[in-house]
């Protein structure tokens, strides 16, 4: 914990959620303060993406118990779009392709939706073009990607960069990165991590979901959590990630079974 006095951005208490009636999250607790970087690690199928989508408001997931406060306010009172405008951002594990919608139009509509909600001035296409070109440099994205349909025909790495570009445009308070590192080669990983680091600030928090400790060499977490079977089983500092890498998840999940 960098600063125990920092404001609490996200408070998750005893969160339960189901998809198609199947329980996936089974009592998840997590506290994230402004300025912090958290990493959530855990085996496939442990519910990490489910957690991120529940926070973002995906309609397929039903919250069956517990509560989530965002800046002290019940997050579930807000629809997905209102959460985004309030400052919650999810970088998707599998970004969606939207043929027929140009990336630049999409980014501008997103920017303006948030600007309008905050009472800031909306930007016309020309004004926005300047902004988006500047931000694209951050993730070393060729401007030609702005004229293409959203994620349509993008490679895995290009999609991930596009997610970080969206984050850079929206400047969220809480960014949840769901396996943004997976499928990236070392260069792309460095670029994406650089983009994320450039956006971190004492007012923002980042929750990274990842399989690999590799990413944590680039974006250094304050807290590391191990998730299994819909719960956080163990939390610690960076050294927990290294230990996990050395000993495998069984070390944590097995320990739970033994307990």
């Amino acid at each position: 914990m960098k600063d125990p006095a920092a404001t609490t951005l996200l408070e998750v208490r005893g969160l339960h959620a189901t998809v198609n009636g199947v329980p996936i999250l089974k009592g998840l607790d997590l506290t994230v303060r402004a300025g912090e970087v958290h990493a959530i690690m855990g085996p496939n199928g442990s519910g990490k993406s489910t957690f991120s989508k529940v926070l973002a408001g995906h309609p397929a997931y039903e919250v069956t118990g517990g509560e989530v406060l965002f800046e002290g306010r019940n997050l579930f009172e807000l629809e997905a779009d209102a959460r985004a405008r309030a400052g919650v951002f999810l970088a998707f594990q599998y970004p969606v392709e939207i043929p027929g919608v140009t990336n630049s139009a999409f980014l501008r509509l997103a920017y303006n939706a948030k600007a309008a909600a905050e009472g800031r001035e909306e930007l016309d296409p020309l004004e926005f073009d300047d902004l988006v070109r500047e931000k694209a440099k951050l993730v070393e994205m060729d401007p030609s990607f702005l004229d293409r349909s959203v994620n349509d025909g993008f490679s895995g790495g290009e999609k991930k960069r596009n997610e970080i570009l969206q984050m850079a445009i929206l400047e969220p308070k809480l960014a949840i990165l769901d396996e943004t590192d997976s499928g990236l080669d070392i260069d792309a990983l460095r670029i994406v991590a650089g983009g994320v680091n450039a956006l971190s600030s004492p007012a923002r928090a980042i929750v990274m979901i990842t399989h690999y400790q590799r990413l944590l060499n680039y974006i250094v977490p304050d807290h590391v959590h191990v998730m299994a079977d819909g719960r956080i089983l163990k939390s610690g500092d960076r050294s927990l990630a290294l230990e996990l890498e050395a000993r495998g998840y069984d070390w944590v999940t097995g320990a739970r079974e033994a307990a």
């Binding site: 408001g57 629809e79 997905a80 779009d81 985004a84 405008r85 969606v96 027929g100 939706a113």
Partner: protein, 435 residues
């Protein structure tokens, strides 16, 4: 002014049409069409080709055949419809009559002749007489028969061999609603001579909000090695009726690229028949119906592969909101002679409301054995993951829905080979969906 019931529109003795067809030796055609119009019944849903389209609201209505007013307009009302690519390459028709003061063909190169039918019959060269009335069969079709019986007003575009026409030719048929209900019978002939290259935009639009019945017939002839790009845009008001027939003949090694968009009318029907009449003909035929409220749009296409080595590509999309109803019947005929035909047809429908309806049917008739023919049809709703993705970026649900609807339609709109029209339609679709 006297109003004529629909069944009598083509057969009843009416004041002569301005632009005397008879003078140019077409009297026989007109006579035969008049006889056919008297003989043929107005189609009903008992006719297989009209199963899903009930014409009784059109048939119940008596129609005036002449607005009685001079074909003029305040130029300011025309300005928003002008296309950059067709500056001084435009013919305008107001309430069915040619409007010379609003038209100009000054930008066109020599070698392409564009004019009102009457003038073109008089001095447009032999191609007009040779082709007019020869491609759109009127002996079996009530609406073609009526149109041909009233032959006179319309446009002809004749492009000489080897001439490449830059930009586009814009044929704009406007109704003002000054006198209603008005039935108009536009006629278009396009001849792209051997090896020529030409883009024609045929547009039907209402400037008023009173009821019009447009019964349009278009014939296109694409001679060997020529390229004709043909955009047909129907955006009449929501109380009007639109029936269109378009017959196209594509010769050896010629290309016909067409996009037909229906976004207007209370009830519209388009029969678009394209014959690949020479070896190696290449056709793309894309369509979009974008409907809301109680609109009904029926599109019947026929791609008739008559000769070997023909290629056809077809994408048809329907977007139905409210209680609207879209019909698509896509017939592909491969005749015994048409070996090595390569054809594909995709039909996609997007239903935005539980009350909206679509009937989409591919109809493949293949009589040759060495043929590639692919087809697919889907009907669906907006994709939940795409909606969530947009929501997760802060777009309100309603805006996300409109953006995705536009995106669905854009695939066809963007195939229109006239940039300013793409932009205008995009803006219109967005505005219509309130973006």
């Amino acid at each position: 002014m006297v109003a004529i019931p629909l069944p009598a529109l083509g057969s009843q003795a009416l004041p002569p049409v301005p632009g005397a067809a008879a003078a140019a030796g077409l009297a026989e055609v007109v006579e035969a069409a008049r006889a056919a119009a008297g003989r043929l019944p107005v189609p009903t849903p008992h006719d297989e080709a009209w199963r899903f389209t009930d014409l009784s609201p059109l048939a119940r209505q008596p129609w005036q055949v002449d607005s009685g007013a001079a074909p003029t307009l305040d130029a300011a009302r025309l300005a928003p419809l002008e296309l950059d690519e067709a500056a001084d390459a435009r013919l305008v028709f107001v309430d069915g009559r040619f409007a010379p003061v609003l038209s100009s063909t000054a930008a066109l190169p020599s070698g392409v002749r564009v004019g009102a039918l009457a003038a073109m019959l008089a001095d447009g060269g032999p191609a007009v007489r040779e082709h007019l009335g020869r491609h759109a069969a009127f002996d079996v079709d009530f609406f073609s028969a009526v149109n041909t019986a009233r032959l006179g007003e319309g446009a002809a575009v004749v492009c000489a061999r080897g001439v490449q026409v830059p930009g586009a030719v814009h044929l704009l048929f406007l109704s003002t609603g000054r006198s209603a209900p008005l039935a108009i019978q536009p006629r278009v002939l396009v001849v792209a001579g051997e090896g020529s290259e030409l883009t024609v935009v045929e547009e039907y639009a209402s400037l008023g909000d009173s009821m019009v019945f447009t019964n349009a017939v278009t014939e296109c002839v694409v001679e060997p090695g020529a390229t004709l790009r043909h955009v047909r845009l129907q955006r009449e008001n929501a109380v009007s009726f639109h029936v269109g027939r378009c017959a196209v003949s594509v010769a050896r090694d010629a290309r016909y690229r067409s996009v037909a968009v229906d976004i207007g009318a209370r009830l519209s029907r388009l029969d678009h028949a394209v014959t690949l009449a020479g070896e190696g003909a290449e056709v793309t035929r894309d369509g979009l119906a974008l409907l809301d409220a109680r609109q009904h749009a029926d599109s019947h296409t026929l791609l008739d592969h008559a000769k070997p080595h023909g290629t056809s590509r077809q994408l048809h999309k329907c977007v139905c909101d409210g209680g609207s109803h879209a019909v698509f019947n896509g017939r592909i005929l491969v005749r015994p002679d048409a070996q090595r035909t390569d054809s594909s047809q995709q039909s996609r429908a997007l239903l935005l409301s539980a009350r909206a309806q679509v009937n989409a049917k591919p109809q493949l008739e293949i009589h040759a054995d060495d043929v590639k023919a692919a087809h697919g049809a889907t009907v669906g709703q907006l994709d939940a993951d795409e909606r969530f993705y947009l929501a997760s970026r802060g777009l309100p649900a309603d805006q996300a829905r409109r953006l995705l609807t536009y995106a669905f339609a854009a695939e066809v709109i963007e195939r229109i080979p006239v940039r300013s029209l793409v932009g205008r339609l995009a803006a219109q679709v967005m505005a219509r969906s309130g973006l």
